[in-house]
Amino acid sequence: MKKWILLLVFATSLFAQEVKVPDAEQFVGKPEGPPLTGALLDQRTNETGALLRCPVCQGMSIADSPSEMAVNMKHQVRELIARGYTQEQILRYFERSYGQFVLLKPKFQGVNTLVWILPIIALAVGAFAIFSMMGKGGSQPVDETPATTADEDPYLAEVRKLTGKQS
């Protein structure tokens, strides 16, 4: 009996000593895809890493940055993909900690919608302005006033007289 109690105390102390780090499952649930290995795991890690901003760099993705922070984040991405987490789940996990700042591709929602829509609107308005100006220019009546002749213009007649030239 004493032996069992000692074993139980030992097991409890082992459990109490366990290091626990925040896990993605706590925030984005269980993996929704199949666990990946090998070349496919490398490829997905790079693809997902390219979508996440390195928080200590200037506009670099974690896939491109050599900083320790980015390397740690990339390791975590790899580990999550190996466990079967989808790209959408991983982006959601990082967004939960860092906000939309961490996403290199802004989401099509809220104020971000403007980032996607405004260039298209500006292009459309610009094209409309150019075409309507071209249309107006084309339909304007041609000035049909005949060129002034020396007989009608006293100034021109005077100049010709002075220079001794005739039309």
Binding site: V19, V21, P22, P55, Q76, Y98, V102
Partner: protein
């Protein structure tokens, strides 16, 4: 038509000036923490020196100051005495915790031996805890209320006034 183009041009220019001036005034490294108002991610990490595992949840019921730092970070040297003196002053009322990442345990121990401490310092081996808290650069300090909710985040070396203001927030919210 020229008038319409002119007005449109002015509108675009004004919008650009507003957006750029707002953007230029901001620190590009500043990250608004989406964790504020949410439950702080739980962790249990080994303490430097004792090797004891300290679990964040064991301090529920007390406001907390969780400071992420590293020995290679110069501003961390600046804020360390501020944190230690406040932790001593508020012992029993507020729990302070240091979390060190991207560092070596011997260096951390040496730092603490030379500069002293008044609260547990934990090692975040692969930086997963820092990532879960959205830490961009050290030092960063999180303030948790007695229920474990994040009420504030401070980036950079903390001064005594900011520390006290945020502790008050953690005590009242």
């Amino acid at each position: 038509m020229n008038r319409v183009v002119l007005i449109f041009g002015i509108l675009i220019a004004v919008a650009l000036v507003v957006v750029l001036s707002a953007g230029l005034g901001k620190d590009p490294q500043h990250i608004e923490s989406p964790l504020i108002g949410k439950q702080a991610p739980d962790f249990a990490l080994k303490a430097v020196g004792t090797g004891e595992t300290i679990d964040l949840t064991q301090f529920r019921g007390k406001p907390m100051v969780v400071n992420f730092w590293a020995t290679w970070c110069r501003p961390c040297y600046e804020e360390h005495p501020v944190l230690v003196s406040n932790a001593q002053m508020m012992q029993g009322q507020v729990q302070f915790l240091g979390v060190v990442f991207q560092d070596k345990e011997e260096k951390i121990q040496q730092f603490l031996n030379e500069r002293g401490t008044a609260y547990p310092t934990l090692v975040d081996q692969a930086g997963k805890t820092a990532i879960a808290y959205g830490v961009g650069g050290v030092p960063e300090t999180f303030f948790l209320n007695k229920d474990g909710k994040v009420v504030a985040k401070f980036e950079g070396p903390i001064d005594p006034e900011s520390l006290q203001t945020n502790i008050r927030k953690a005590m009242t919210q």
